[in-house]
């Protein structure tokens, strides 16, 4: 375990000094500020631009609009940024040979995989929940009658879990292909396949993409909580499977 903690600390320093924390933190902070602002003022801005009859048809903004912005930004730009930022973390180790002196002094390959995942997951968690916290506070400010429901909490956690799934896929891809393009290709390819599978109703409720596509439905009670939990369970299992696959593959590789 000492190897895991030492390498985890190194990964945290790496993220700080290579500005990953800064980029991730600033982008998600920006999302957090913009989500409620866009929801609150977009109707007014549109109303001032559009002709009177159309302007009067624009509905009054509500708190749900702010959450709509939150989920849209987090699941599109946010997850894309996450995949790009962390797709190169294994390829750099391969190309530069930085792991060799550490592996030869007893660092286990499993520790490398889990420490990299844990450090990336920690950054994602902090950035994402920072964005959520800022969105929540501003939403509460603009719409004081907003209540924090468990459906909202579940929905927010769903996106977070999907982010962890992406990180595990990026790690697996990075080890399988030994470069960042391979990591992005594998991650993107699997996500596309999952979205295509969402067209099959029989397996739809088990599909991890439920976690990033049915968020407002869950908040509005049009999607059953069980569907979300089932998709969450499958996503957790797939994440674990991706990490185990990464460990097995990495252990078999000749460096």
């Amino acid at each position: 375990m000492s190897g895991f903690f030492a390498f985890f600390k190194k990964e945290c320093v790496s993220q700080k000094r290579t500005y990953k924390w800064l980029v991730l933190g600033l982008v998600f902070l920006l999302f957090g500020i913009l989500n409620p602002l866009a929801a609150k003022f977009l109707p007014d801005i549109l109303g001032s631009i559009l002709p009177g009859s159309l302007a009067s048809a624009i509905p009054e903004s509500v708190a749900l609009d702010s959450w709509q912005q939150f989920f849209k930004n987090s699941t599109q730009m946010g997850l894309l940024l996450l995949a790009i930022l962390f797709s190169g973390q294994m390829s750099r180790e391969y190309t530069q040979g930085t792991l060799l002196p550490l592996l030869t002094r007893g660092l286990s390959r499993t520790s490398v995989v889990f420490a990299k995942f844990a450090a990336a997951a920690a950054s994602w968690t902090v950035a994402y929940f920072l964005s959520f916290g800022v969105t929540y506070l501003y939403t509460l400010y603009f719409w004081p009658d907003t209540t924090f429901t468990w459906q909202l909490f579940l929905s927010v956690c769903g996106v977070w879990e999907f982010g962890l799934f992406i990180l595990a896929l990026a790690l697996l891809g990075g080890i399988a292909f030994r470069n960042s393009y391979g990591a992005l290709l594998l991650t993107g390819g699997i996500i596309i396949v999952l979205f295509l599978l969402a067209a099959i109703p029989a397996i739809n409720e088990w599909n991890p993409v439920v976690l990033v596509s049915q968020n407002l439905g869950l908040i509005q009670n049009s999607v059953a909580c069980g569907t979300f939990l089932a998709a969450g369970g499958i996503t957790a299992a797939l994440t674990l499977l991706a990490l185990m696959g990464a460990c097995i593959l990495f252990k078999r590789q000749q460096l």
Binding site: L102, T104, G106
Partner: protein, 306 residues
């Protein structure tokens, strides 16, 4: 006791054989030069010793402990310096050594003390810049510090001087000379002068096989030279000697490294000696120096791999 033993090791990549049943023994306390041209398989051998790649056949042991791919408890006895040591550029030297120490399971206080001691040894004591700003020589020296951090019994260096300028090379060799007191050193290189300056034993790897292995002196003795070096007082004396009739025979090859010296390579050492001495007496020529030349490692190497 042998620090390292390789028995019948074979390895091929795809359909290209790299090592073909090599046997090697590195006695404890020696500085062992592992020679071979580029691509001879030196780095592959070192990676096999470290358990980073899998051997197709044969066995390896380090201080009696068997080494296997992925199972390398023996690595706690080894310090490894790769040919181009790669570091995380955003870390400082002490931070990197701390990381290495923690991974090795060393107590914090020991890591601190060893880091200070080793950074002093490699001349990086006051250096607090990030490693990304280091020169190649500085990285090589830091590489030695990390390899020695856990006080290994065997230090494996993969071409530690090949990419360095003469000053950097001299610094690395002097560090290796200092550590040989406590540590067995296996040192791969194709720079033969480096080997001659610090190694007491060598092995020559060529075409996937060990062609020669043993003490440097014994190997040189097994490849005696048939060459004389004559150094004269003046260029005129040199010219007079070059006019000697016996030199026109086919048994001689002549080199003139400078205006007053002559190197004579001959097929028959005794006959040549008689001819030279009688000509010198006859011509009343007194050379400043006449000696039977020591075989150089370069000559031995070329002869062995030919």
């Amino acid at each position: 006791m042998n620090a390292l033993e390789l028995n019948g090791i074979s390895k091929q990549f795809a359909d290209r054989p790299v090592l073909n049943g090599i046997d090697l023994a590195v006695p404890e306390g020696s500085v062992f030069g592992f020679l071979g041209a580029n691509g001879a398989g030196k780095t592959t051998t070192m990676k096999l010793i470290l358990g980073l790649i899998k051997a197709d056949a044969g066995s390896i042991s380090v201080f009696g402990e068997t080494v296997g791919f992925g199972r390398t408890p023996s690595n706690r006895l080894i310090g490894f310096l790769p040919d181009v040591p790669a570091f995380y550029p955003y870390l400082r030297p002490k931070e990197y050594l701390r990381l290495c120490g923690e991974i090795s399971g060393m107590p914090k206080s020991e890591v601190q003390a060893r880091s200070d001691e080793l950074l002093q040894l490699v001349g990086l004591a006051g250096e607090n810049r990030r490693i990304g700003g280091f020169s190649r020589g500085m990285k090589q020296r830091l590489g030695i510090a990390q390899a020695l951090l856990h006080s290994p019994r065997l230090l494996i260096c993969d071409e530690p001087t090949s990419a360095l300028d003469p000053i950097g090379r001299r610094e690395i060799l002097s560090i290796l000379e200092k550590v040989r007191v406590k540590t067995t050193v296996l040192f791969s290189t194709h720079i033969l002068s480096d080997v001659e300056s610090i190694c007491d034993r060598i092995a020559i790897l060529h075409d996937g096989k060990i062609l020669e292995s043993g003490s440097l002196q014994d190997i040189k003795a097994a490849h005696p030279t048939n060459s004389f070096l004559l150094t004269f007082q003046t260029a005129d004396d040199q010219a007079r000697f070059l006019a000697a009739p016996f030199l026109s025979g086919s048994g001689f090859r002549i080199e003139t490294p400078d205006a007053v010296s002559i190197i004579l390579h001959t097929n028959s050492l005794e006959q040549a000696e008689l001819n030279i001495l009688s000509f010198l007496q006859q011509e009343r020529l007194l050379p400043r120096k006449m000696e039977l030349m020591e075989p150089t490692l370069e000559r031995v190497f070329l002869e062995v791999v030919r």
